[in-house]
C-alpha cells in the first residue's frame, strides 16, 4: 500500500547547464526533522530551493474538528513541540475569549512564567542545534544543561517534560509545585552566569560570525537578538516570580464547553513567531472549522529568497536561524 506512490523524484540526471539537483531530506541531519528540500546547485552555489512538505502532515486542523474544546488543546502541543505551552495558551485564550471566562490572577501569572520558561528552553535548543548545524558540537551540551533545568521545573509542575498540557480553559490543570519559585530562581541565577559562556563559544566566535554575517536577511545581529530575547524572558520571570498571587488556579467553568456561534481569533507570540488560532463555531461542543497560523510556515517561505546565490553551507546557517520545527509547518 505504501510503496505504490513514488515520492522521491528521480534526480539522478544532471539538470540543464550542468546544474546539480540534490534532494536534501526528507531524512537529512540539517533539516531538523522531515523537510524535503530540492536544492539546485551550481557547484556549491545554490540556484533554487524548493521545499516539499507533507512528510509529517497529520491533519491536526481537521482532527481538531472532532475533538471537544477541552481535548483539542492537547493536540496543539504536538505541533510546535518546542513551545507547546504557548500553543496551549493560545488555544485556551481563544476558548476563554469566546465564552468570556474569567481567569484568576494566579493562573495568569503562572501561565506567563511557564510560557517564558518555554521560550527560553526553545531558544536554548535553537542555540545548540544552530551551533551543531555549523559544525560545533559542544555548545549543544552547554545549552542543554540549562534546558534540563527548565524541563525539571516543567516536570515538577506540569508532570511532563515537553508536551505539558497543563493549561486548561479557565486556568491551570492543577496548582504549581511547592518548590516552583525556588527552582525558577535557581535557574535564573545559573542562566545569568552562563550567558557569557555562550557568547565566548558561539556569538563572539570569529568562525561563527563569518558563517552567519551577511547570510540571507538574517545576520549576526539576529543571533545576538535571540540572546537578548532570552534575557528579556528572564526579566519577565524575575518580575513575576515573587509576586504570584494566592488564590484559585482555575476559574469556574462549565463541565461541557460550548463556544457561541461565530468566528474567533487569538494570537500569541511563540518562541519562533506569531501563532494564531482561528475558530469558526456553530455553537456545538466541537469547533466547526479550525485553522492555525503557524510561525514556522511563514518562516520557511522566506528560505528560497534568502538562500539563492549563497553557498550550500550557508543554507545550514539560514535554516538554523529560521529555527524550523517541521511538525509546526505541516501540522
Amino acid at each position: 500500500m505504501y510503496n505504490q506512490t513514488e515520492i522521491i523524484k528521480d534526480t539522478s540526471e544532471l539538470g540543464a547547464d550542468g546544474e546539480l539537483v540534490i534532494n536534501m531530506g526528507p531524512q537529512h541531519p540539517a533539516t531538523h526533522g522531515v523537510l524535503h528540500l530540492v536544492v539546485t546547485l551550481n557547484g556549491e552555489t545554490i540556484k533554487k530551493i524548493e521545499p516539499h512538505l507533507g512528510y509529517i502532515h497529520r491533519s491536526i486542523e481537521k482532527m481538531c474538528e472532532s475533538l471537544t474544546y477541552r481535548q483539542f488543546i492537547y493536540v496543539t502541543s504536538r505541533m510546535d513541540y518546542l513551545s507547546s505551552h504557548i500553543n496551549n495558551l493560545g488555544c485556551a485564550l481563544l476558548v476563554e475569549k469566546g465564552m468570556q471566562i474569567e481567569v484568576p490572577d494566579r493562573a495568569k501569572y503562572v501561565r506567563v512564567i511557564l510560557s517564558e520558561l518555554t521560550r527560553i528552553a526553545s531558544h536554548e535548543l535553537w542555540l545548540g542545534a544552530m551551533a551543531m548545524d555549523l559544525g560545533a558540537f559542544t555548545p549543544f551540551f552547554y545549552a542543554f544543561r540549562e534546558r534540563e533545568m527548565i524541563t525539571d521545573i516543567m516536570e515538577d509542575t506540569c508532570g511532563a517534560r515537553l508536551t505539558m498540557n497543563y493549561i486548561v480553559p479557565g486556568g491551570l490543570m492543577y496548582d504549581i509545585h511547592p518548590d516552583f519559585q525556588k527552582k525558577v530562581k535557581a535557574f535564573i541565577t545559573q542562566f545569568k552566569s552562563k550567558v557569557t559562556e555562550y557568547e565566548d563559544l558561539v556569538t563572539n566566535n570569529v568562525i561563527f560570525q563569518s558563517r552567519t554575517k551577511g547570510v540571507g536577511i538574517l545576520s549576526a545581529e539576529d543571533a545576538i537578538s535571540y540572546g537578548k530575547e532570552m534575557n528579556q524572558s528572564i526579566r519577565i520571570i524575575e518580575q513575576l516570580i515573587d509576586n504570584i498571587p494566592e488564590g484559585d488556579f482555575v476559574g469556574k467553568t462549565k463541565n461541557v464547553l460550548k463556544l457561541p456561534k461565530g468566528e474567533f481569533y487569538t494570537r500569541v507570540e511563540t518562541a519562533r513567531g506569531e501563532f494564531g488560532v482561528y475558530v469558526v463555531s456553530e455553537g456545538g461542543t466541537t469547533p466547526h472549522r479550525i485553522k492555525f497560523r503557524s510561525p514556522g510556515f511563514s518562516n520557511l517561505s522566506v528560505l528560497n529568497h534568502i538562500s539563492v546565490g549563497s553557498k550550500i553551507g550557508d543554507l545550514m546557517a539560514s535554516m538554523g536561524t529560521l529555527d524550523l520545527v517541521i511538525p509546526d509547518i505541516d501540522r
Binding site: Y2, N3, T5, I7, I8, P26, Q27, H28, P29, G33, V34, G54, Y55, I56, H57, R58, S59, K62, M63, S66, L67, Y74, V75, S77, R78, Y81, L82, L125, G128, A129, F140, F141, F144, R145, R147, E148, T151, R161, L162, T163, I326, P327
Partner: protein, 181 residues
Amino acid sequence: MELKEKIAGNEPFPGIVHDTPGGGIVVSTFDSIINWARSNSLWPLSFATSCCGIEMMSTASAKYDFSRFGFEVARASPRQADVIIIAGTIVNKMAPVLKRLYDQMADPKYVIAMGACAISGGPFFYNTYSVVKGADHIIPVDVYIPGCPPRPEALLHSLISLQEKIKLGMTREQIRGEFKG
C-alpha cells in the same frame, strides 16, 4: 520484570575466566563475543520526525549521556547506522521513505519505536487520514517504548533492553539464522 533484573547488571566481556598458574584464560564462544560487540556498539541513525526527537537529543545531552553505552556515534548515513530510532509520527507520505532508509541500512539492523506515534499512531490513532497506525506496519520493530514523549531514561531503558535482546539471541535475524542453521 525478569528483563529488568537482567538489565540492572551490565555483564563484562562474555565468557568464563579459568584461573591458571600465572594468569587466566577467558573461554568464550565466538557467537557470544559477536553478540557482545554488537550489543555494545549500537550506532543510531540520526532520524527524528517530531517531538520524540527532542527527547532523543536530551538523551544525547550531558545529563543522560547515552555515550556511556557507546551509542553516541550518531550516523547521518543509514549505511553506517545499526539502530534506527523512530522518534515521532510516521505519516503515509513518509512511510516509503522510512522503508527505504531501513533497506539502505546494512545488516544487522535494529529498530526502536519511540513514543506513542511510532508504536500505534498515538494521538493520531483516530480521526486522521494521513498517519500510519504504527511503524511496525512498514518495518519490523524490535523494541517499543510507550510515552508521549518517553523520558530520556525510558529511551535508555529501551536501548538496554535492545542490548539484552541481542545478547540473548532474540532479535529477528538471530532467530532466522537459527532456523537456517
